[in-house]
Amino acid sequence: MRPLNRAKEAFQSGFSLLEVLLSLALASAILLAASHLLQVLIQRASWWQLLSQMVVTRQAVVRSIANLGGQVCQAGILQGEKSQWRWHLQQSGSCQIYDMRLQTSHQQLQKRRLGGRYTTFIDSISALEVTYGVSAEDDCVVRQWLAQVDHSQGQQTVMLRLKFAVGIQGQAPEYSLPVGWYVDKSNGQEKLWQPTEVVLSLPCNNSISSSME
């Protein structure tokens, strides 16, 4: 009886080689699946973090441009081209002429007081394309959108339509990007860009428009 009991105990307290191998295989499969799942979850989470960052950055850029629009102190603009224009802004209590431009190499929107030096106003902005809403009948209603305006058309400009892209640094997700987004890998950095469009209403004064005729 004793040898039999010993054998029984040994059988109950251990595993066979096959059982051990099968357990190891199962554990590996579970670990593999878990690590893959974890990797996907982390990738998703970092994408959400990037997306939130883009939302915040874009909001800041849009608000900054809107604030700038709120500082315009005279009807119309003085001249306008694809990515630069000249207008009047209220600064330090007086209405002064300011130039705005996109500095493509640094991806910055810059402004300067007439005769002064450019200072950066907004970072991480590219592909700026401004179109000018011109009122054709002196009623402050846009009837024509032009890619550039001279002084006389500028006086009748009542709205600016700014198309640009807002950028953040980060890696694109392995799955597809949201509609319209694109990746730029220049300068050794990977940047994600989201196209954005803002409309700026300018103060409109019928008497100014009429006096131009």
Binding site: L41, R44, A45, W48, L51, S52, M54, V55, R58, Q59, V62, A66, T131, A136, C140, V141, V142, R143, Q144, W145, L146, A147, M159, P178, V179, G180, T196, E197, V198, V199, L200, S201
Partner: protein
Amino acid sequence: MVRTKVQGFSLLEVNMAMAILALGMGGIMTSYLAVGHRVQYGYQQQQAQLIIEQMVAVLPLYGEHIAWLQGQSTSTHIGQHCWRGQVCDQQQMLKAWWAYWAGYIAKYLPAGKYSLTCQSTCISGGRLHIQISWQGGTLIPSNCESRHCLTMDWPL
């Protein structure tokens, strides 16, 4: 019987442990997905917000034609010439904007659509009501007939 209890767990105990583990994991996954949906919702809301802001800037200029606009189709290809330097009358320009917004909303918001209604009248004295709605995740409560929406109304 006593030996069995000492050496291992009963089926009930194992099941209960599994249930607790499943509940915990489910909770974590739900929070995780909720965060994702919340981020996605914020992104979509921003897209809608930008369009609403454009509408606020543009529509008052063409206030007298808004009633006319309500009867028009929202094809996204209308009024393209108005963006290319041609002189357009107020109705053409308004329709070009309308088509542009329709295209933008359809492109950037899942199952996105928008509506414009006037309370009582579409002329001075009435109220203009704009709504942009889209299909979103189910984890974020929605209050526009099971769709997410952004609404705005202002006096004409």
